[in-house]
Symmetry: C2
Subunit: 469 residues, 2 copies
């Protein structure tokens, strides 16, 4: 590829500082929050839909791969480039509108999730999806991975809030899909394909999101269990008992010990498991829910450690929930490297899955910390390892494969909220029959015939070895 010519064409409509070519500058865009590494040939800092369309026209002409990127918090290598153009959307970070009468927000893809939440709260409105990285990650990335978070147990995932999208396709054509209405059955719902497509179908340049009224109160509980199975069984029992909690978050002993040494808060590190539960709504309803939750937990051997209750989202509940958000950074301290998997299983399979992960840890001699959104069956088994140790990395690969096999055999899926990206690509042919993979490829070809949009992510090529029967 004649990169000088590419850069010249890019600069026909972009300022020189929007088109970055020096090595030091590009290196920053070679990574996400995993250990996957790559290097873009050029980084373009997009500031508008027109900028994006310009880049995609050139890239499509010259068949250059384009990797869209928000703030690089991804956990599957989805934004890691293997050459080509890194299209940085972080500069498109304006909240274009918050409209309480229509109950919507319109944002550019580079808006940080927490920024949108705060801006909504200023109007008494609530944007529920809350990935753990919400202080850093962007809405565009959230849509591209259909991001979840603890509150998604009650409120659903990012998809449930997307009313409209503007997307730019590989040839530079912009489409507006959906809009500001709450109900629409007038066409095929194309925007649904882009949600969770991990940048492989086009670039999301504007997002219209539904907002809810802010619930007036929130409360939370921390419950310890001597046995890990007890926590899993209590969760299944709670969710069958007529209560829909705001969240049910789980941590095993390893995770708790890591969090406690990362930021001490008096966690019972001798217990095998911790559940953090929360409820929101009218104050009286929250109090009633917390009481019912405590009683189900205690019936299943749970021990109430702490209760937080705020009528106006004061810090007590937030403090308790902060414990959960520290899980990932705390575990990062335990070993040179970690891999966080993201399987989801049907709720009833949670105890079996937790047991199987413990077995896999013993079988492969790889420490696996377990935490996650247990309420919706979405667990993040975290493999602790040292990439410098080849033998260990072979065992890590075996452990990951065994976790995926177990999830699939229980009716679960490879990823609940992180995406397939680069790192789970090899397992996709195990998760879908060939007939469905063929439809995936046909859809991809329909929107991106030259395969320039984030190629080699999400969807393995047709020649992929493991697809053979």
């Amino acid at each position: 590829m004649d990169w000088e010519r590419v850069v010249r064409r890019l600069r026909e409509r972009l300022r020189p500082d929007q088109v970055e070519t020096d090595l030091a500058g590009r290196r920053v865009y070679g990574r996400d929050a995993t250990w996957a590494e790559g290097m873009p040939d050029v980084v373009v800092h997009a500031e508008s839909t027109a900028d994006v369309a310009h880049v995609l026209r050139i890239a499509n002409d010259l068949r250059i791969p384009v990797v869209p990127r928000g703030r690089g918090t991804g956990l599957a290598g989805g934004a890691v480039p293997k050459g080509g153009i890194c299209l940085n959307l972080a500069p498109m970070n304006r909240i274009l509108a918050i409209d309480p009468a229509d109950g919507i927000a319109i944002v550019q893809p580079g808006v940080i999730t927490r920024t949108l939440q705060q801006a909504s709260e200023a109007h008494g409105l609530f944007y529920p999806p809350d990935p753990a990285s919400l202080e850093t990650c962007t809405i565009g990335g959230n849509v591209a991975t259909n991001a979840g978070g603890p509150c998604c147990l009650k409120y659903g995932v990012t998809r449930d809030y997307v009313l409209g999208l503007e997307v730019v396709l590989a040839g530079g054509e912009a489409l507006r899909l959906g809009g500001r209405v709450m109900k629409d059955v007038s066409g095929y719902d194309l925007k649904q394909l882009f949600i969770g497509s991990e940048g492989t179908l086009g670039v999301i340049t504007e997002i219209t999101l539904r907002l809810l009224p802010m619930p007036p109160a929130r409360g939370a509980l921390a419950i310890a269990f001597n046995r890990l199975e007890g926590a899993c069984e209590a969760t299944v029992a709670l969710l069958s008992s007529g209560i829909l909690p705001l969240m049910v978050e789980f941590m095993d002993q390893t995770t708790m010990q890591a969090v406690e040494s990362f930021r001490p808060s008096g966690l019972p590190t001798q217990a095998e498991a911790l559940l953090l539960l929360a409820a929101d709504g009218e104050p009286a309803a929250v109090e009633a829910d917390l009481q019912r939750m405590i009683s189900v937990m205690q019936r299943h051997g749970g021990q109430l450690l702490r209760t937080a209750f705020d009528a106006d989202n004061t810090p007590y509940t937030e403090e308790l929930l902060e414990i959960r958000r520290n899980a990932s950074p705390a575990l990062a301290q335990l070993a040179p490297h970690k891999i966080s998997e993201d399987i989801t299983v049907p709720r009833s399979k949670i105890p079996a899955m937790a047991r199987r992960i413990q077995e896999i840890s013993r079988e492969t001699d790889i420490p696996i910390a377990l935490y996650g959104h247990i309420g919706d069956g979405n667990l993040h088994p975290t493999l602790l390892c040292d990439r410098g140790n080849p033998d260990e990395m072979t065992r890590v690969a075996h452990a990951s494969a065994a976790i995926f096999e177990a999830a699939l055999s229980m009716g679960g899926v490879l990823s609940g909220e992180h995406g397939i990206g680069l790192l789970k690509l090899d397992f996709v042919p195990r998760a879908f029959p060939i007939a469905i993979l063929e439809k995936f490829r046909a859809l991809k070809a329909l929107f991106d015939p030259q395969n320039i949009m984030n190629p080699g992510k999400k969807l393995p090529p047709a020649t992929h070895l493991s697809e053979e029967p």
Copy 2:
């Protein structure tokens, strides 16, 4: 077409009584709940996925149109055949599983919505989507039209409850899309395309639905307004005030008068508008919500007529909500024929849309009753007319077109929950740019290359006249 040969092939795997050819029997399957009329050449009563696959293989071989059908309650002509095979899915009416531990139901497409709700309630579980025809309509049809209903204001539409689908494509191939998990970002979410596709992409043969815990209490209010604008403005104000009601349903004076003479319940027929509002949840929260709702309504000129409050879903609230469900049958008494439109506008545009509909009624001299799910901007303006009067029908066509134009110009859509079917087909090219229509057609061709699945519905052909600029 050699129908004798078709019938012979169909009967190779189907009992004779599953393949209906006599005129009287077929006539029943020529209509839905609109005045559109057609006639299938053959009716097949499907009892299994294998039956459906058998029919679609033959139909695809011989290029015979197939119109899938539930109970024929559609309001857009979507299930009205123009020859070909009517594929009656009503016999596939088994609830295959209700699993409280996983919080799901698995049903065949012919299960009646209310039947699923009752079966769920027996487990303390709640299936929220509640189209007005819920005593008769089927889940398959609900998925095919992404059906809504009053409760969808708080709980979302059918799409929000679909976790998994089994679909049979035109060639007879069955695909399982999604499953029992609450979160999944491992492939492109193909099932989303089938939701709201109105039988044009394939036949839905099994549906896995998410169920919620049953809220313990429900309450409702009836509020009268002297001025129609007052009701519209009160709705916008209520939804901007931090409350998310279970529903906000609206009726204008014509609708109220019709309902009152259909089944008298003391409605204030001298008022210009009625709002029915409801809340659900913990009893204390419901009481608090009702009080806040009353106070917003009164601030905007509303007059409280009745309050219903049940801690255990006793009949009081149901009685009040029954008023709303009578709107459509009651209006049917007012004139020889009626057309119920199904536009949705952004919430803030409700007052302007209501005013515009009144103007259109005056301009065309066609009585238009107005009711609907005003809380989510989804209105059902109902044109009262006599099909035997050609001049009147010309004015009806003008009135419908003017309503669609108004909705589109306000950022609204042609259909919120009924679908495009046959009756709104002409307006689709006004609602979407050519680039999007082309993607719709490419998607259709991807799943149904020979265009046998409900052809001539949902999506106008590429040669459609009004598409020219």
